[in-house]
């Protein structure tokens, strides 16, 4: 991987997200008091203001809320993959997340597509959650 790839250097509060990704597990904060999931990480629940939470596993099922196809690389690190897609997905648990889709042609992407998480190792330091079209069984289960 290019050495100019932009990587998280997370604070204490943000680091668990990336550490769980490193283990190929998608976990986000869930409020101990009202049960709401939230993303990105933050010290309080925006639904009930509670400071108590757990890093909780989520299903990895999501739908595409929006997408774009990026043409000129706005950072040099993106140059070798243009044109590429970027998406906002909504996790089955509610929160939204910026990511990318894999295993799909850019011109086949649609808002509302069911997708599921897959972990992509950028290098030994960084693994990111990306999404691929959901398998039939998971789509049917929803």
């Amino acid at each position: 991987m290019r050495d100019d790839y932009p990587k998280p250097a997370p604070s204490e509060g943000d680091a668990p997200f990336w550490e769980w990704c490193q283990r190929h597990e998608l976990r986000i904060q869930r409020c101990d008091d009202c049960g709401a999931f939230r993303f990105h990480p933050r010290p309080r629940c925006p639904e009930c203001q509670s400071a108590r939470y757990q890093w909780t596993p989520v299903s990895g099922s999501a739908t595409v809320a929006s997408f774009t196809i990026c043409h000129p690389p706005v950072l040099p690190a993106y140059a070798d993959r243009v044109p590429y897609n970027a998406v906002v997905v909504q996790l089955a648990e509610g929160p939204f997340m910026v990511s990318n889709l894999v295993d799909v042609d850019n011109d086949a992407i649609e808002v509302g597509m069911p997708v599921e998480v897959t972990f992509v190792e950028i290098d030994e330091e960084l693994t990111i959650p990306q999404f691929r079209p959901a398998t039939v069984s998971q789509s049917a289960a929803r």
Binding site: D3, D4, Y5, P6, K7, P8, A9, P10, S11, D14, F39, H40, A65, S66, F67, T68, I69, C70, H71, P72, V74, L75, A77, Y78, R81, Y84, A86, V87, V88, Q90, P95, F96, M97, V98, S99, N100, V111, G112, I122, L126, I128, Q130
Partner: protein
């Protein structure tokens, strides 16, 4: 007028001033700000040293102290900053009006200075010159860690994701953004201060480079240098100065999420429903206090980092129902001279210049003075807004 806002009949715009807008002026932001402030005072016939308040974006790099010491301002009684880039475009002026209306200051300068062209002289500074996302580095501890590893780093990509959502929900077409781009480039072609003087056709828009689909190059704000300033004073003093005063009807602000945190923007704002998020929240307060309705507005300057902001702003500020912003553009309503609500008659951020939208207020003032190069006939009331995708604010002005 039945405005109940504190700024009504207690504050007026007496002067506007600006530098040239260009791709690379080769001057510091302080130097540009001073030129714009002196020009605004000259426009009004007002002594620079008598400025007693300063209002700007909280991200502004030219400090109050630098202005006071460079321009020989005797002292100031009021200093204020407004959050976000783009969102505060109208609020820098709104804060100045609040200070004057409440008696905290008599004559407040609101300004913005930017040295942001790609080749700007001060490009090594992390906040001046060039593109901030290109200087963020490879170790990200702020919000950028949730976007950059996925290839989303520039505002154009964030706005593309917001625009596509609007298209999916309401049937808005990318060509609606293109039609607004064409209208604004036509407006710019008549504005001698605009950077882009050549009008374009919709076919040329269709053939232009996609940047982040659905957004194409002519939809994007320019990357340029320039500064402008607006002098706000009491109506009594304004009436003794050189220009016909432009009065405030109301000012209002609103919070909410921002495009650089797309997870939160989508959580609360990307359904554009009846929830009270930034634009709708501002519009409710603004029109209620001003005692007027969108039908009373003759001309609007909507903040337009990208032309996709225009349909969203038309809807959130109540000029059309939700989802009708695109068709309203297609009807020609936003295009001077025949449109019912000419929008961004200076050419906006893709035509005149991108000075973080603060250059929208001087154009509203020119409209109400009757001196715009795309003059809306008989314009009496003008709306100026901040970014629809940021913590934001708006002002309503009358002649």
């Amino acid at each position: 007028m039945n405005s109940t806002d504190i700024v009504h009949e207690r504050a007026a715009i007496a002067g506007i001033g600006q530098t040239a807008y260009a791709k690379n002026l080769g001057r510091t932001e302080l130097d540009l700000a001073c030129e714009a402030i002196v020009a605004a005072c000259d426009d009004a016939g007002f002594p620079v040293a008598d400025i007693d308040g300063i209002s700007c974006y909280s991200m502004e790099q030219v400090t109050e102290v630098a202005l006071i010491t460079t321009l020989g301002i005797k002292n100031v009684s009021y200093m204020a900053g407004t959050p976000s880039g783009g969102g505060g475009a109208a609020s820098v002026v709104g804060l100045a009006a609040l200070a004057v209306a409440s008696g905290q200051a008599d004559s407040v300068i609101a300004f913005r200075s930017r040295n942001r062209s790609k080749a700007a002289s001060y490009g090594a500074d992390p906040l001046q010159g060039g593109r901030p996302w290109a200087k963020a580095g490879t170790r990200l501890s702020d919000w950028r860690q949730w976007h950059h590893p996925f290839g989303v780093a520039a505002p154009v990509q964030e706005m593309a994701l917001i625009a596509r959502r609007h298209m999916a929900l309401f049937g808005t077409k990318a060509e609606h953004f293109g039609m607004q781009a064409v209208a604004q480039r036509f407006h710019a072609s008549r504005n001698p201060n605009a950077i882009m003087r050549n009008a374009i056709t919709l076919d040329e828009w269709r053939e232009s480079r996609p940047i982040a689909e659905p957004i194409r190059l002519p939809d994007c704000s320019l990357e340029n240098d320039g500064a402008l300033a607006v002098l706000v004073t009491t109506p009594e003093r304004a009436r003794d100065l050189r220009q016909p005063p432009v009065y405030f009807l109301a000012q209002a602000q609103g919070g909410g999420p921002i495009h650089v945190g797309l997870a939160d923007y989508f959580r609360t704002s990307a359904s554009w429903d009846e929830r009270d998020h930034a634009g709708r929240h501002i519009a409710k307060q603004l029109f209620a206090r001003a005692g007027v309705t969108p039908d009373d507005v003759d001309v609007a300057m909507f903040f337009d980092h990208f032309t996709m902001a225009i349909p969203l702003s038309l809807e959130q500020y109540g000029f059309c129902p939700l989802g009708e912003g695109g068709p309203m553009i297609e009807s020609g309503a936003t295009r001077w001279p025949d449109g019912s609500l000419p929008v961004n008659t200076h050419g906006g951020s893709n035509g005149e210049a991108f000075i973080h939208g603060v250059n929208d207020t001087p154009e509203a003032v020119r409209q109400l003075r009757g001196t715009s190069t795309c003059q809306a006939e008989g314009a009496e009331i003008a709306l100026v807004t901040g970014a629809i995708t940021d913590p934001s604010g708006a002002i309503l002005l009358r002649r």
